[in-house]
Symmetry: C2
Subunit: 145 residues, 2 copies
DNA sequence: TTTGAAATTGATCATTATTTTCATTTCTCA
DNA sequence: TGAGAAATGAAAATAATGATCAATTTCAAA
């Protein structure tokens, strides 16, 4: 639920002694309303339609805050643009990324996750985050160039 | 074997109609002699000890060629520095990365790999490359801050 | 061995994503 | 409502990487 994410972020802002502003509200609402994996530029484009005076730097700063608060997660796919998506708490997934059309498929596989933990444990390693990305050709692009 | 990698690269250079040069030789030998996951800067530092006149750009260019040839692979961990390591043909592994001391543990898990393929197949996706990275605390860093 | 076209090199400049600065504006709340 | 703290946006600063280009090197043909 969008409102819950907004409240969650508000709580984080409050706890850090920061302030609520119109720009932040516009950015957060636009972000939460959007699906997919947004670059800073993507989001800035969208926010400008709502509030043309929002600056690029503020989008950067707000996305950073959203990540810190747990409302958003940063993704670093292999295209040199950090992307953000919003997740429900405790939610997690990994990605299949088409190197032809750019389509991104999300998946979650408990068996893989549990084997990952097993590997980590074998090395005495405590995992905080992980990412599993597979690059290749999606179904649609498979029969082409 | 280092010599085999050198030959492999020579063959690639030849096939592309490129030339053998002292700089490339120095860079390649230094790279193959080194273990670990080297940044461009790391490698440049090392090469300069062998041949001080080697420029930064040439290290970039040569690492690119090494990757194309299959002798090296590029890694994009979450620190903004592309790193390179050399692998034997057909070799593959993934990484556990300590966010405290920076140590990198390599692992290979056929079970995980096979589950990955299964997930991809389920989505009609043909995987070309993948990367699985787990960030956290290594055994040594676990009992500290 | 000489030669010259093609490739390479290194210094420097260009680019691009992201961060920082800082003067100005906006919030918060006593 | 007014002061102090935080936020903003425009522009400058960073930092990794890529592109340019004149000078140098390689190599196969002569
Ligand atoms: Mn996703
Ligand atoms: Mn490795
Ligand atoms: Zn596709
Ligand atoms: Zn460690």
């Amino acid at each position: 639920m969008v409102q819950e994410r907004i409240n969650e972020f508000a709580k984080y802002i409050e706890k850090k002694g920061l302030k609520t502003t119109q720009q932040r509200n516009d950015i957060i609402r636009t972000f939460l309303k959007s699906g997919g994996h947004l670059s800073v530029d993507d989001l800035h484009q969208k926010v400008k339609k709502v509030n043309p005076r929002v600056g690029y730097a503020t989008v950067y700063r707000t996305l950073k805050l959203l990540s810190e608060s747990g409302v958003a997660v940063e993704r670093h796919f292999d295209d040199g643009h950090t992307r953000y998506e919003h997740l429900e708490p405790e939610e997690h997934h990994d990605h299949l990324i088409c190197i032809k059309c750019g389509d991104i498929i999300e998946f979650e596989d408990k068996n893989i996750e549990s084997l990952q933990e097993k590997v980590a444990k074998k090395h005495g390693f405590r995992v905080v985050t992980h990412n599993l990305e597979m690059y290749g050709y999606c179904k649609k692009c498979n029969g082409n160039t």
